[in-house]
């Protein structure tokens, strides 16, 4: 039974990932993602003369802000607009598996995009010395986790509406709020600051990027993802009661 449940999300996952690459979508995103990060990384890399990828790890979350809602905006809204949601919803598959399969396809595309930045890692290897490979690894791990959190926000925004543009904008807005938490800390009273800091993605990312893999950070990422995927599933189910 468990195998079949995973199997169902896996079928959805494969179909979604294939449809990213069947159209121009995946290629456009991958190229733009690589170009943006490449530009921001190389313009400063040779100036600072530091043997790390910190500039890359700082710029990717910003690129994510637009990049990930772009990937996820159609995941569910497009099915609603085309009516194909009616096809998959009447197949013997749970709404939860549909959401998980689609979500994982977005995370997979984000991971592929991140792999394209490994080029900079090779640049680093050939020019730098005394490289901290551990920090590079945890830096990438952090980026995958942040991407996964933003993708869960993105798929949630996609389930809110049947309009892709609106879901894109909602996605950016929510991700922006999460990204902003870290920036507004200084203006917050002490009581709130602790809570907001805990909610901030950057706070948890910075811990991981420093090379510290703490379960508290992992729990944070896991619970935000779980929260948004849960809401997404409820939204998909809500069609029954409208």
């Amino acid at each position: 039974m468990v195998v079949k449940i995973m199997g169902n999300s896996l079928i959805i996952f494969r179909r979604e990932l294939k449809s990213f690459f069947d159209g121009p979508m995946a290629y456009v995103f991958l190229v733009v993602f690589a170009l943006l990060n490449g530009w921001f990384f190389t313009t400063t890399f040779f100036l600072y003369g530091q043997s790390d990828l910190r500039t890359l790890f700082n710029i990717v979350p910003l690129v994510y802000l637009f990049f990930i809602p772009g990937i996820t905006m159609g995941l569910i809204s497009r099915e609603k607009a085309l009516g194909t949601i009616e096809i998959i919803s009447t197949l013997p598959i749970e709404d939860r598996d549909i959401v998980i399969g689609k979500y994982l396809s977005a995370v997979a595309l984000i991971t592929i995009a991140l792999l394209s930045t490994s080029l900079h890692f090779f640049t680093l290897m050939s020019f730098g010395n005394s490289i901290d490979y551990g920090a590079v690894f945890t830096g990438y791990l952090g980026l995958v986790l942040v991407g996964a959190v933003y993708a869960s926000i993105g798929i949630f925004s996609s389930a809110v509406t049947d309009n892709q543009v609106i879901s894109f904008i909602i996605g950016i807005a929510i991700i922006f709020v999460f990204w902003l938490f870290d920036k507004v800390l200084v203006f917050m009273p002490d009581i709130l600051a602790g809570i907001i800091q805990y909610l901030s993605v950057e706070y948890h990312l910075s811990n991981i990027s420093r090379g510290v893999i703490d379960t508290r950070n992992l729990i944070y990422f896991g619970s935000v993802i779980g929260f948004f995927l849960f809401l997404t599933t409820r939204l998909v189910e809500s069609r029954r009661w409208s």
């Binding site: 009516g83 009447t90 013997p92 409208s242």
Partner: protein, 315 residues
């Protein structure tokens, strides 16, 4: 067996379906007939588990669709209205995707695929991208996807829209063939379509079930009247108006005086045929009947009657 009990669905203040009940037996082809917006699609959507009813229940062999949705959906093949498809996928890949979720074993997919491709006439497009297929092909791709797992129940919402007359005939034959061992439920707003394809007609109007039976049953059950048109010579108006007193079952609708004859339009209840009485009356009054035509009611009249007067009677 499917049992639908007091099914109702409200979309906000709009009552789309109002307390519909009916039973369906295996091996039956059933047609849902109704004007656009009558509640056909909503009823079918509830039966497939896509939406939930506001009240009432749908049972498949005594299992409620609300409680066993996924389990029951395994036995259902569904072609939604407007036939949505993943246009970027190839026909083969799409049917493969459907059959994977349907849990068809890998080795069984190929024969199942060939069977539906054959039955739905998809040979020419089996490896084409769905978006590049014509509307008729798309409709048949949707149908193929609905039946690839050989379901016990087929629910087809407007299955022949977009097809040309030859294709319509083919699909009709296919539906009838499938209906021999399955329950097939199809909807249409086109009467001829339903009449030509199904054993049993369920007419829905403004969310209510207004008639249920074979087309013969509907014709014999209907309490509407037969029209009779008579052309007579040598008739005077008083005699015509007095006819009602002698033959109580006739109801004179209109009298037209033409140059050399009079046309009388009459209505009478079907079980009380007054034509021989009219003949005798005419002989008595010295009329010459030159034409007498009874226009038998067809299904279209019944449909129009039922869907025009709000359909509150004849349940």
């Amino acid at each position: 067996m499917i049992r639908v009990e007091n099914l109702s669905k409200n979309y906000g203040p709009v009552k789309a379906v109002r307390s519909i009940s009916f039973d369906l037996e295996d091996g039956q082809v059933v047609g849902f007939l109704g004007a656009n917006g009558a509640g056909k699609s909503t009823t079918l959507k509830i039966m497939t588990g896509y939406i939930s009813p506001s009240s009432g229940n749908v049972y498949f062999n005594d299992h409620n669709i609300q409680d066993n949705t996924s389990e029951i959906q395994k036995d259902i093949g569904y072609l939604p209205e407007l036939n949505p498809l993943y246009s970027e996928m190839r026909v083969h890949d799409y049917l493969k995707f459907i059959s994977e979720i349907r849990d068809i074993p890998k080795e069984d997919f190929k024969p199942a695929f060939q069977k539906v491709v054959e039955e739905c006439g998809l040979n020419a497009v089996a490896h084409r991208t769905i978006g590049n297929c014509s509307k008729g092909y798309k409709q048949r791709i949707g149908l193929a996807a609905a039946m690839i797992h050989d379901p016990k129940i087929l629910i087809l919402d407007e299955p022949v829209t977009g097809l040309d007359p030859n294709q319509i005939v083919e699909i009709r034959q296919l539906i009838r063939k499938l209906g021999k061992e399955k329950i097939v439920i199809m909807s249409s707003h086109i009467l001829q379509e339903i009449q030509a394809t199904v054993d049993r007609i369920i007419i829905i109007n403004e969310g209510s079930l207004v008639a249920d039976g074979s087309s013969d049953e509907l014709l014999s059950d209907s309490n509407t009247k037969t029209e009779l048109s008579i052309d007579v010579e040598n008739a005077n108006e008083n005699d015509i108006n007095d006819m009602k007193a002698t033959i109580p079952s006739v109801e004179i609708k209109s009298i037209y005086k033409e140059d050399n004859f009079t046309n009388i339009s009459i209505e009478y209840p079907k079980n009380n045929d007054p034509r021989s009485d009219i003949f005798n009356y005419a002989v008595e009054k010295g009329w010459v009947i030159i034409e007498m035509v009874a226009r038998k009611q067809n299904l279209e009249d019944i449909f129009r009657d039922l869907t025009r007067n709000g359909g509150k009677n004849n349940g």
